[in-house]
């Protein structure tokens, strides 16, 4: 489903629908669908997860009343305080506790209130969660653990309510990192993450919680992990992104088309392990690639994609790999508009790459 239809409110543009090629294999289309926003889609996924597995638990700071972004509304009332409960303010404790719960065969769905606060839990994720199966020779695992956190810019978040920390976690073998771009994707991906037998960190684009509205099927469905999706076909340049940034990239694609440049846009969806094949196939077609993310450019996940693509497609590349990302500064307060990888910056880079 084209992103353009989802985000009318954010950009005030009436976007003509164009059905992209989707590699999703599940029957997303069947059944009733209702137009809902991102936090409602997440809410539905959590509800289904709790319903279908009696050993699923949802916990985190303030989740009981519905959470600061309403993702957990109604769950405590429906499933009781023994399965949906608040934790004290202690991220390291929350994740450590979640690992233990998962190690006993439960589905522990932990919420970190903002991705900016995930760092106290970093040790637990990197040293405990990701290595548990490996170091116990497969005797134990915490595959039932899913950590959800809102990430990304929101217009006024400043240093501690806007960060995109995905790159730190992409450096850790043993966990998966998944980022949805829209409500329909979020529900299917979250259910896949919860049911995946590996620990997963699921970042939700907070700017889209209310703004993104899409037709989402009401039934239980899952979308495959580690499968990227080509959401816009093109022949001149491949654009790779994830989460909220895709909508900005799509705007740039539309404008580039007016100048005769046809961009292929890929939603990575799962960052690790990422779908190298799909991206490679696209780059073999176009010969050019541009990666965009909100996180600072140096050491961002775009660097990994760039290095891998150059390794695989060196002789096919017509231009250097372009990265249009956040600047190498802490996420600023008043300077946010300058920091962000905006549509114009992407457009500029598309043109520079195509005309190289």
């Amino acid at each position: 489903m084209a992103l353009r239809n989802i985000l009318g409110k954010r950009f005030g543009v009436g976007l003509a629908g164009r059905r992209p090629l989707s590699t999703a294999t599940c029957d997303v289309e069947s059944g009733n669908a209702k137009a809902i926003n991102l936090y409602s889609a997440i809410n539905q996924a959590l509800l289904i997860a709790l319903e279908t597995d009696p050993r699923a638990f949802v916990f985190g700071e303030d989740v009981s009343f519905g959470g600061v972004f309403r993702c957990t509304t109604g769950l405590a009332d429906r499933f009781g305080k023994a399965r949906v409960f608040n934790t004290p303010l202690c991220e390291q404790g929350i994740v450590g506790f979640g690992i233990g719960l998962a190690a006993m065969g439960n589905r522990a769905i932990a919420e970190i209130q903002f991705a900016d606060y995930i760092y106290p839990a970093f040790d637990q994720i990197v040293n405990e969660a990701s290595k548990f199966r490996y170091r116990s020779g497969n005797q134990f695992n915490c595959g039932g653990l899913t950590i959800r956190a809102p990430y990304g810019a929101v217009g006024h978040g400043g240093h501690y309510h806007s960060q995109s920390p995905e790159a730190f976690f992409c450096h850790v073998p043993g966990i998966k990192v998944v980022i949805p771009r829209s409500p329909r994707q979020a529900k299917g991906l979250l259910l896949s993450c919860i049911r995946d037998p590996n620990p997963v960190v699921f970042f939700e684009p907070k700017w889209l919680y209310r703004l993104a509205v899409e037709e989402v099927p009401e039934h239980d469905y899952m979308l495959p992990l580690s499968e990227a999706e080509v959401i816009r076909q093109g022949s001149d340049i491949t654009l790779v992104g994830w989460g909220a940034q895709l909508s900005i990239m799509e705007q740039a694609c539309i404008e580039a088309e007016r100048d005769g440049i046809f961009c292929e846009l890929i939603d990575l969806k799962t960052l690790i392990p990422w779908d190298k094949e799909t991206v490679e196939a696209s780059v073999r077609k176009t010969g050019r690639v541009l990666i965009s993310h909100e996180a600072p450019v140096t050491g961002g996940f775009g660097a990994e994609i760039s290095a891998s693509i150059v390794e695989r497609c060196f002789l096919r590349l017509e231009a250097p790999v372009a990265r249009v990302c956040g600047l190498d500064t802490p996420f600023p307060l008043v300077f946010e508009p300058f920091y962000m990888p905006t549509k114009n910056k992407i457009l500029d880079a598309i043109k520079a790459t195509v005309n190289y």
Binding site: E61, D62, F65, N86, P88, L89, C90, Q92, G93, D116, Y117, Y119, P120, H156, G157, G158, H159, Y160, H161, V297, A322, R323, V324, C325, L327, D328, T329, P330, P332, L333, V334, F335, F338, Y339, P341, T342, K345, I346, D348, A349, A352
Partner: protein, 395 residues
């Protein structure tokens, strides 16, 4: 002038004879600089853990009480003005207001010097003012302007003042406490007889790093005072739902603690003076300030979904810190009601002037986006998105 001399020289404090005369003449008395000691009892006695509580009897004087009144009036007015500015979208981002908790800021300052360090969380506007921060610096920083204390780059949660040893202003809950203990270590090393007050809230009290910092401080006998500003709600979560033991002053276990009525500026002063003396000799001590915030957690929180309006008005009526000092001043006849109201009017004007000035102030230059990432002169370059046009040397 003569009348005020008469008033202050009267030992019994009873100037009833002169009262009708005074009000009839309605002379404007200057703010009393009288330092004749007045003895007051704190509202409630202190509760101690692993130490002997200080006396309930506090020495103060007219000058101090009137300063308390004025300073708290400034803080209160400032926070309310910030509320309006936020609603008018002149302040954006996050804004955590301190009104109701002013007694902690002023009481603490009365017991400390500017050589002592204070470090706190994001609810830092009034603590900053207590450390001699100006109203212009406050409003300019809130509105993201150059004249702000952090040059407009920090915002509400990141106020700092180096020359008064105010170490800010921290967004991540509880992260400032280990920092505070580090400051205390440096102070002990330098032997400058100064201490560090590390403030945190009841929500942060459940962070593991607090206990790590406390253990280190106690092991090495650091002059660190951990102050829990217990306003009973961690965002929307009541303390009894987050903490197995909401007796925060006891949670140091091996470290002594004191529970203080945080709405009584004099009790706060007494406790802080006691704590400073203790910490310099015997290492860390925990102070739990029993206080209350009238506003919600931040401007996005109405503050009424997890507590009743009756509770809020109840505290306002029974325990408001400014009203307590006002009653004390009137009781001891240190100023008339009208004079106090005049002070409040003056304060209001001061705040309005500062806001007007801050509004005129420009936003930081765009090039400042790249400044102060690293120490100057490192020459690290940052590229803009397209790697060609935007190039800046990170300073």
């Amino acid at each position: 002038m003569a009348l005020s001399q008469l008033a202050s020289s009267s030992p019994s404090r009873s100037v009833n004879l002169l009262k009708p005369l005074l009000s009839a003449i309605s002379l404007h008395r200057p703010i009393s600089t009288d330092t004749t000691p007045i003895t007051v009892e704190t509202s409630v006695p202190f509760t101690a853990h692993q130490c002997e509580a200080p006396s309930r009897t506090v020495q103060t004087n007219a000058q101090e009480l009137l300063n308390f009144f004025r300073d708290m009036a400034v803080m209160r007015r400032m926070e309310i003005a910030a509320d309006s500015l936020y609603k008018a979208k002149l302040i954006r981002g996050f804004c955590h207001l301190y009104d109701g908790q002013e007694a902690v800021a002023v009481g603490m300052e009365a017991a400390l010097t500017k050589k002592d360090c204070i470090i706190t969380s994001y609810r830092d506007h009034c603590t900053f003012v207590g450390r001699d921060g100006t109203l212009l610096e406050v409003f300019a920083e809130l509105m993201g302007r150059q004249a702000g204390c952090s040059k407009g780059k920090g915002g509400s949660m990141h106020f700092y003042k180096k020359d008064s040893n105010f170490y800010g202003g921290h967004g991540i809950v509880g992260a400032q406490v280990p920092l505070g203990c580090g400051l205390a270590f440096a102070q002990k090393y330098c032997k400058d007889e100064a201490v560090t007050f590390a403030l945190y809230g009841d929500g942060a009290a459940n962070q593991g790093q607090l206990f790590e910092a406390l253990n280190i401080s106690a092991l090495w006998n650091l002059p660190a005072i951990l102050v829990c500003e217990n306003n009973h709600y961690g965002m929307g979560t009541a303390e009894w739902r987050a903490a197995k033991s909401p007796a925060y002053y006891k949670r140091g276990d091996y470290a002594p603690g004191l529970k203080v009525d945080g709405m009584d500026a004099l009790a706060v002063k007494q406790a802080c003076a006691f704590a400073k003396e203790h910490a310099l000799k015997n290492g860390p001590i925990i102070l739990e300030m029993d206080t209350y915030r009238y506003h919600g957690h931040s401007m996005s929180d109405p503050g009424s979904t997890y507590r009743t309006r009756d509770e809020i008005t109840g505290v306002r009526q029974e325990r408001d810190p400014i009203e307590r000092i006002r009653k004390l001043i009137l009781l001891h006849d240190l100023a008339t009601e009208k004079e106090l109201k005049d002070i409040e009017k003056e304060v209001r004007k001061e705040v309005d002037d500062a806001i007007a000035q801050a509004k005129e102030n420009p936003v930081p230059e765009p090039s400042k986006l790249f400044s102060d990432v690293y120490a100057k002169g490192l020459g690290v370059e940052s590229f803009g998105a397209d790697r060609k046009e935007v190039r800046a040397t990170l300073a």
